[in-house]
C-alpha cells in the first residue's frame, strides 16, 4: 500500500527523494573525505615507526605549525627516546598539480626510512629531491630529471613509495633545504618521536611530560594524531555545518511532500477511519510512507556520494590530495541519517492525518 501510494505521484516522489539523495550524497562524500584524510594523515605521521607526534598547539592547519628546533633537541635527549625526526610540510603548486605536497625531512634521522626508495637512491645533497612514485607517473619524470619547485631547480635523486597517497603524489627535500626554500629557518612543522622498545609502556607518560615542558606544543600518540589534527577538525566542522543545512532542506522537503499527500488524501483517510482504522494505524501509514521515501532517497544518495568520491579520485589534479574512503560504516551512517530524516519529516504530517475527524474528512472535496 505504501509503495503504491508513492508511485501515485511519481514526479513528486522522485523530486523529493532526489533532494534527499543530494543531501545524503554530500554527507556521505564529506564523511568519506574526512575518513580518507584521517587515514592519510595517520599514515604520514606514523611513518618510519613514530610513536608520538608533536605539533604546534592551536594552529588551524598542519602547514602553519611551527616548532622551534630546540624542542627537538630537548626531546631527543630524553632517555626513553630513540630518535626524533623533524618534518616540514608545505603545499605548493608544481607544474599541473595545484596541490603538491613538499616535505622537508632530515636525511640523517629515522624519519627518512618511511620513504622507501623504489628507483634511484636516497637524498645526498641539498639540491636533490625525492619524488613520489605517483607524482613521477603524473609528471613523466625519472631519476636524473629535473623538478622545479617555486622557481628552484632540483635534480631527482630517486623515486619513493610510502603507500600514503598524500606523500606519494608529493616530493621530499632535505629539511635544511626545505627550511631555506619556504623561509622557515630553524623551524619544523611536526616532530616525529620514536620511543625505545623497552620504554614502550611509557608513551602516555612521555606525552604528558613533553606537554608540560613545552606548553606551546600539542603532543599526541601518532595513532591518535589524525583525529586531533587541526585539518581534520576543520573539515569535520565544515562537514557538520554543510550536512546539517543539507539535511534540514531534505527534511523540510519530505515534510512538505507528505503534508501535500495527506491533504490530497483527506477523504481517503476519512474513509479509512470510517471503516474502523484507528488513529494509530493512520499515523503509521503516513510515517512508513515517509520512511520509504527517505530510504529511496538515501539509497540514491549513497550511490551519489560514492560516485562523487570516485569522481574526485579520477581527477588527475586532485587525485592523491583529496582522498575519500567509503567504508561500510560511512554508508550505514548515510542510510541512518536518511531514515531519521524520513521519520522526523513524516512525524508532523502523520500526526495531522491521525487527527482528522472522519466526518469532516469525508466531506472534504
Amino acid at each position: 500500500m505504501i509503495f503504491k501510494n508513492l508511485w501515485r505521484r511519481k514526479g513528486r516522489t522522485l523530486l523529493t527523494s532526489g533532494g534527499i539523495a543530494i543531501g545524503i550524497g554530500v554527507v556521505v562524500a564529506l564523511l568519506a573525505l574526512a575518513d580518507g584524510m584521517t587515514a592519510q594523515i595517520t599514515g604520514m605521521v606514523s611513518g618510519g615507526g613514530a610513536d608520538i607526534t608533536l605539533i604546534q598547539a592551536g594552529v588551524a592547519d598542519m602547514q602553519f605549525s611551527a616548532l622551534d628546533e630546540e624542542i627537538g633537541e630537548v626531546v631527543a635527549a630524553m632517555p626513553e627516546v630513540e630518535w626524533v625526526s623533524g618534518l616540514l610540510l608545505n603545499i605548493t603548486s608544481v607544474g599541473q598539480k595545484p596541490l603538491f605536497l613538499v616535505l622537508g625531512v632530515d636525511p640523517q634521522t629515522g624519519g627518512i626510512e618511511h620513504f622507501r626508495i623504489v628507483e634511484g637512491r636516497s637524498l645526498q645533497e641539498d639540491d636533490e629531491v625525492l619524488l613520489g612514485r605517483m607524482a613521477a607517473d603524473f609528471f613523466g619524470r625519472s631519476p636524473g630529471d629535473e623538478l622545479v619547485i617555486q622557481a628552484q631547480r632540483y635534480r631527482i635523486a630517486g623515486l619513493y613509495e610510502t603507500g600514503v597517497s598524500y606523500q606519494d603524489t608529493g616530493a621530499v627535500l632535505s629539511l635544511a633545504e626545505a627550511q631555506r626554500l619556504f623561509k622557515k629557518q630553524s623551524q619544523v612543522g611536526l616532530y616525529q618521536v620514536k620511543v625505545r622498545p623497552e620504554a614502550i609502556g611509557q608513551v602516555e607518560v612521555l606525552v604528558e611530560r613533553i606537554q608540560e615542558r613545552f606548553p606551546e606544543v600539542a603532543a599526541y600518540r601518532s595513532s591518535e594524531f589524525a583525529q586531533n589534527a587541526p585539518d581534520i577538525q576543520t573539515l569535520q566542522t565544515i562537514a557538520s555545518a554543510v550536512s546539517i543545512i543539507g539535511l534540514l532542506a531534505g527534511g523540510l522537503g519530505t515534510m512538505n511532500t507528505m503534508l501535500m499527500s495527506v491533504l490530497e488524501r483527506t477523504r481517503e483517510i476519512g474513509t479509512l477511519r470510517a471503516l474502523g482504522w484507528r488513529k494509530r494505524q493512520v499515523l503509521w501509514l503516513i510515517l512508513r510512507e515517509s520512511l520509504a521515501l527517505s530510504l529511496l532517497g538515501g539509497l540514491a544518495g549513497l550511490l551519489l556520494g560514492a560516485g562523487l568520491v570516485s569522481l574526485i579520485g579520477l581527477s588527475p589534479a586532485l587525485a592523491g590530495a583529496l582522498v575519500g574512503r567509503v567504508s561500510p560504516s560511512t554508508l550505514a551512517a548515510g542510510l541512518g541519517v536518511a531514515l531519521v530524516l524520513g521519520g522526523l519529516g513524516g512525524l508532523y504530517p502523520a500526526w495531522r492525518a491521525a487527527r482528522l475527524q472522519p466526518i469532516e474528512a469525508l466531506r472534504y472535496e
Binding site: 500500500m1 477523504r267 474502523g276 482504522w277
Partner: protein, 273 residues
C-alpha cells in the same frame, strides 16, 4: 426478535446558538434481519441519522443503541465502526491504487488475521456480490455499479451486524442502481443481513421492505412497503390533485376530461388505500 437499532429522542444540533436542528427527537427501532429505507428530501436529517448510527458523529442529546451497544457510552468507536457496522458511502470511496480485493481487505488491517486468511475472506466477500472475476481490477477499470458493489463487499469485510448505506445509488444510472439494490436484497434474504439504506428517491425506497420517512429531523411516516403499485396509489393520494379530488373538488385546469363521472368511485378507492 432482538433489536439491532434503538434510538430514543435522538437530537442533533449543528452550530451554536440558533443552530440547525438536523434531528429533532427521533425514535427508531430496527429488528434484526430487516431491510429498510430511510427516506426524505435533502435537509431532512437522514444522513445525520446514519452518521449517528455508524458512530461517525455524536448526538447532542438522546440515546442510540446499536447491536446492544450504547453508543454514547462506547469508548472504542474505531472497533465499532470496523466490526459492528458496515458502511457504504454514496461515492464509493475506494482507494484508487488498490485492486478490488485489496480494497475489501482494508477494514481487515485492524484485525490479527494472517495474510492468507485476509485474502481468502476478501475473495469470499467479492463472490457474495458477484465480482469474483473483477478481483484484480483497479477501481478505474470498474464501472460505477461494480465499484459500489466492491464497496458493499468491503462493508461486509468483518461480518458486521448491520449494513448502513448512504445514498448508495445516488451516483449510479438506474440499471446499476437496481443491481446494487438487488445485492442488498440478496444479502438480506440469503444471509439475514440487516440493511438500512438512506435515500431521497422513492423508487429506490420502494425496493425495500419498510420506509421510514424523515422530514425536518422528525419521522413523519413509518410503514411497510406492500407493493409498488399500492405505493404509487398512495403517492397519488398524497399529491395535490389527489388531495383535491379526495375533498370532492375538480380543479379548473382538469375539467372536461371525464373526471367528473369518475369522482365518486375515485373517492372510494382513495379511502381504501
Amino acid at each position: 426478535m432482538e433489536l439491532i437499532v434503538e434510538t430514543q429522542e435522538l437530537v442533533k444540533v449543528y452550530g451554536d446558538g440558533a443552530g440547525v436542528r438536523a434531528l429533532d427527537g427521533v425514535n427508531l427501532t430496527v429488528r434484526k434481519g430487516e431491510f429498510l429505507a430511510v427516506m426524505g428530501p435533502s435537509g431532512s436529517g437522514k444522513s445525520t441519522l446514519l452518521n449517528l448510527l455508524g458512530a461517525l458523529d455524536r448526538p447532542t442529546s438522546g440515546q442510540v443503541h446499536v447491536a446492544g451497544e450504547r453508543l454514547t457510552r462506547l469508548r472504542d468507536l474505531d472497533r465499532f465502526r470496523g466490526r459492528t457496522v458496515g458502511f457504504v458511502f454514496q461515492m464509493h470511496n475506494l482507494i484508487p491504487t488498490l485492486t478490488a480485493t485489496e480494497n475489501v481487505e482494508v477494514p481487515m488491517r485492524a484485525s490479527s488475521l494472517s495474510w492468507r486468511a485476509r485474502r481468502e475472506q476478501a475473495e469470499a466477500r467479492l463472490a457474495l456480490v458477484g465480482l469474483s472475476q473483477r478481483a484484480d481490477h483497479l477501481p478505474a477499470q470498474l464501472s460505477g455499479g461494480e465499484r459500489q458493489r466492491v464497496a458493499i463487499a468491503r462493508a461486509l469485510a468483518n461480518d458486521p451486524h448491520l449494513l448502513l448505506a448512504d445514498e448508495p445509488t445516488g451516483n449510479l444510472d438506474s440499471v446499476s442502481g437496481a443491481q446494487v439494490m438487488a445485492v442488498f436484497r440478496q444479502l438480506n434474504q440469503e444471509r439475514g443481513m440487516t440493511v438500512l439504506v438512506v435515500t431521497h428517491d422513492p423508487a429506490v425506497a420502494r425496493t425495500t421492505d419498510r420506509i421510514v420517512a424523515l422530514q425536518d429531523g422528525r419521522i413523519v411516516r413509518d410503514e411497510p412497503v406492500e407493493s409498488p403499485y399500492l405505493e404509487d396509489l398512495r403517492e397519488f393520494k398524497r399529491s395535490s390533485l389527489g388531495q383535491t379530488l379526495w375533498a370532492g373538488v375538480i380543479p379548473e385546469s382538469v375539467r372536461g376530461l371525464g373526471l367528473e363521472s369518475l369522482l365518486p368511485e375515485l373517492q372510494q378507492v382513495l379511502a381504501r388505500v
